[in-house]
């Protein structure tokens, strides 16, 4: 048996609460009909399992005044570190003079990395993009090769070369300059075991790996891409 109630407004008989149907019932807004709650407040809204919430073309999900959780894909961590002083003829691990960038508008996003004697530790697991950039110069001679390497460990002990940036310096009549960029995506499954360090090499004793505290010359940029 079916029946139809025609009314322009439903109001509670007493109090301020109005209930539509009972637990276990299904209330259907049929195809072509519109449930307009644009001026109202919805609470306790749940998309049932197996159902899809569609955001139509031209529509917007605005969470600017609230908190949106559980959404994947957003960038939550970004950090930059640099060495603060020049050094000649680096021959191995770059262990000293690292600082987190702090000038010209830089601000760390999220917690940021920590560093101790050139060993970098991540604040959380996830896929991390690491960009390494070495700035080199030689004021007296052409340089056959310069290299800045990213070494990673998966057990907090054994390091292996993960990404290499190589170059040479030449062509100038006074200072020869060059840059050695390299990139790596590191699946950090453990913040205790997955770490990285920077290693530098060149062929001439007069070649300089440049560092500065007012700008990023030799630096590392890390961005967390997503969950592991």
């Amino acid at each position: 048996m079916s029946s139809e109630v025609k009314a322009n407004k439903l109001s509670p008989a007493t109090g301020t609460a109005l209930q539509i149907s009972d637990s276990g019932d299904t209330t259907t807004i049929p195809s072509g009909a519109t449930l307009d709650v644009s001026s109202a407040t919805m609470t306790g809204f749940t998309i049932p399992s197996g159902q899809t919430l569609t955001v139509a073309s031209g529509a917007t999900i605005d969470a600017s005044a609230g908190t949106a959780t559980g959404f994947g894909g957003g960038i939550t961590e970004a950090d930059m570190w640099r060495i603060t002083a020049d050094q000649t003829n680096p021959a191995g691990d770059i262990t000293a003079n690292w600082e987190q960038a702090d000038t010209d508008g830089f601000a760390v996003l999220g917690s940021g990395l920590s560093e101790s004697s050139g060993i970098f530790t991540f604040p959380s697991t996830g896929y991390w993009s690491i960009t390494l950039s070495g700035m080199w110069s030689n004021t007296s001679a052409d340089e056959r090769y310069v290299g800045l390497y990213l070494y990673t460990t998966l057990n907090n002990a054994d390091y292996d070369g993960a990404s290499y940036g190589l170059g040479s310096l030449g062509g100038g009549t006074s200072t020869r300059n060059g840059n050695t960029p390299s990139n790596f995506i590191f699946d950090v499954t453990s913040t205790t075991n997955c770490k990285f360090k920077v290693v530098g090499y060149c062929s001439l004793a007069t070649t300089i790996l440049q560092g500065d505290s007012d700008r990023c010359e030799t630096c590392v940029t890390v961005i967390r891409l997503g969950d592991t």
Partner: protein
Amino acid sequence: MSIGFSENGRPRHIEAYLITVRYGGWFGWSDSKNKIYANLIVHDGGSKPTEQECIDGLAQLQTDFDSQDYARLRQAEYPSIEECVHAILDDDLEALQAKRAEVKARYPK
């Protein structure tokens, strides 16, 4: 360029001297935004140069750099390797040598 050198490569700060003392990242600054001698620190356990050594060392580097001004100026104006090759192939070495002599005369030692 970093704080140690001017744009043309001339040493201008004691950091330019310090990087000649030992290799690698042996030194640093307790306040890297204020690179004065009082803030110089040593990472490798080695000796720390005196302030006078830093002053004298920088001055010597500047003297050495300035003494090579003529060479840098000459090199910038000498015929290129390509021009030299063409001069050899075209049997025109006299003109090439004349140009080199003119550059040398303009920038004497």
